[in-house]
């Protein structure tokens, strides 16, 4: 077999002469930009992790190590990330390291790994918050940032102004409020849900657990609840100026003084044995109680 040696032509040499210095220049430029940093903190059981970030993407995932890994990427070199440990607590924050930093420059992205039993307290005004498989209590406050949780447990407290909230396969207890954010609560196994948004929509597509209480409140958005034939709940759905649509064959309570109608401003009744308590309240929005496909 012949082996042909590649001999660079004059054109190739010229090209290489331009490209290589350019690549080197790019490397220098990127090295002078914001640096991605990685920090490790050894922790014991039930550590507390607090994160204060004005703007950026925060991704937290559980892992099986007894340590917290913080990978941070500030948006510019005018922004610093502080991560420090105080006992079993790790505090992470983003701040400007110079005067005159524009608000939209005050941004950092985080990838954080924590033990599954960690407790999280997250403040992220803009951007997004994603948390997966963390079983400890979780408190999230945002303004415009959306919050996506999956496979979490513990007591979840979420407050947003305009950010949406999604919870997939969450258990434990959920307390979520927003002004214009919409909520999606899907495949959950939680005994207690308190959800209130003013103009967003609420979707609850999960099983109603026996003895669970589910309070969904919406001023002007749509509340949509999906149920399966095996569910068992006691329903109180009221809207002041909107409409209630129901596909559930409810049995009116004998002691109830409420009017039982299928499409009206209010609907009260029991589905199967009425083991869970479901309260849906709206000011002038629509309430849909639909069969799950």
């Amino acid at each position: 077999m012949k082996v042909r040696l590649a001999v660079p032509t004059q054109w190739q040499l010229k090209t290489a002469g331009l490209v290589v210095p350019s690549l080197l220049l790019c490397s220098v430029v990127s090295a002078a930009g914001p640096k991605r940093s990685e920090q490790h903190f050894k922790v014991t059981a039930h550590p507390v992790i607090t994160i204060h970030n004005p703007n950026g993407v925060i991704t937290v995932k559980a892992w099986d190590r007894a340590e917290v890994l913080v990978i941070s990427t500030p948006a510019t070199d005018k922004v610093d990330v502080d991560a420090e440990q105080m006992g079993n607590r790790v505090d992470i924050s983003t701040h400007a390291n110079a005067d005159g930093v524009a608000p939209d420059e005050l941004r950092a992205d985080y990838q954080i790994n924590v033990p599954a039993d960690a407790e999280l307290q997250i403040h992220d005004d803009s951007g997004s918050v994603n948390v997966a498989s963390v079983l400890g209590d979780l408190n999230v406050e945002t303004i415009g940032a959306g919050v996506d949780l999956s496979d979490t447990a513990g007591y979840l407290t979420v407050k947003t102004v305009g950010g949406s909230f999604q919870c997939l396969r969450c258990s434990g207890q959920i307390d979520v409020t927003s002004i214009s954010g919409s909520f999606r609560l899907v495949d959950m196994r939680t005994m207690r849900v308190d959800a209130h948004t003013t103009t967003g929509n609420i979707l609850f597509d999960s099983q109603f657990l026996p003895n669970g209480t589910y309070h969904l409140k919406d001023n002007s958005g749509v509340i949509e609840v999906r149920f399966s034939p095996d569910d068992s709940f006691d329903l109180a759905a009221q809207t002041l100026n909107g409409t209630v649509h129901s596909q559930a064959n409810l049995v009116p309570k004998k002691t109830s003084t409420h009017v039982f109608t299928r499409v009206s401003n209010s609907l009260f009744g029991t589905f199967n044995a009425g083991r869970a308590k479901v309260e849906l309240t709206s000011f002038d929005g629509t309430i849909n109680i639909l069969k799950r496909d």
Binding site: N55, V161, T177, I179, Q238
Partner: protein, 206 residues
């Protein structure tokens, strides 16, 4: 601990090891409590007197006559005056206190007050005007901000204000409607929390 102790009690404490030990413990607790509270600035008494008197005089749920200054002119809003000399974190707390007081008043069933205007008004014009005056300071700061979240906060306030107006209308029309009152209560709480957030961000310089 404070106040005069009878001679018999003092004598007993001196002779009783158990009681003197308890007294020593109480004194150390008192000392520690003072030490803890020392860094916290005590708000002027007039703040609380003014707040309480105003809430009582406003009645929150009844229409009060417009306040006038001794010279006969309309007084500056009490919240606005309050906020002039209260640090911002305390100001946020004052917002919250006032708003939550309104919300609590709404959430507790009570007889409908006599209303000369016949509209079933739950908050006096004065209180609402004062809250708005206090709010305008933070709004000015917010609207001059270039923060990514400023638009969200502005929009949130607009939404909540509209909801308050709608809910107040409903409560006026149906004062005994618990659902309407509950929504109005929630709207005021949301507004308090929003203003608190804005104040906090003003304080932190974000």
């Amino acid at each position: 601990m404070d106040g005069e102790r009878s001679a018999a009690a003092s004598a007993h404490v001196k002779s009783c090891a158990a009681c003197s030990a308890i007294l020593a413990d109480l004194k150390s607790i008192e000392t520690e409590a003072h030490r803890w509270s020392a860094p916290l600035p005590e708000p002027p008494e007039r703040v609380w007197i003014s707040l309480r008197n105003q809430l009582e005089s406003e009645g929150i749920i009844k229409t009060a006559p417009s306040l006038t200054t001794p010279s006969g002119g309309r007084s500056e809003g009490w919240l606005a005056r309050l906020f002039d000399f209260i640090p911002r974190p305390a100001m946020a707390g004052a917002y919250l206190a006032a708003m939550v007081a309104c919300a609590v008043a709404l959430s507790v069933p009570h007889p409908q007050p006599a209303n000369p205007r016949g509209g079933g008004v739950w908050f006096s014009d004065q209180l609402v005007a004062d809250l708005n005056a206090a709010e305008s300071k933070d709004l000015a700061m917010l609207r001059s901000s270039h923060s990514p979240y400023a638009a969200d906060l502005n929009q949130g306030l607009d939404v909540v204000d509209k909801q308050i107006a709608l809910c107040e209308k409903s409560v006026s029309e149906e004062p005994d409607n618990e659902v309407a009152r509950d929504f109005l209560s929630s709207a005021y709480q949301q507004k308090a929390e929003l203003l608190e957030r804005i104040s906090e961000r003003g304080e932190s310089g974000q």
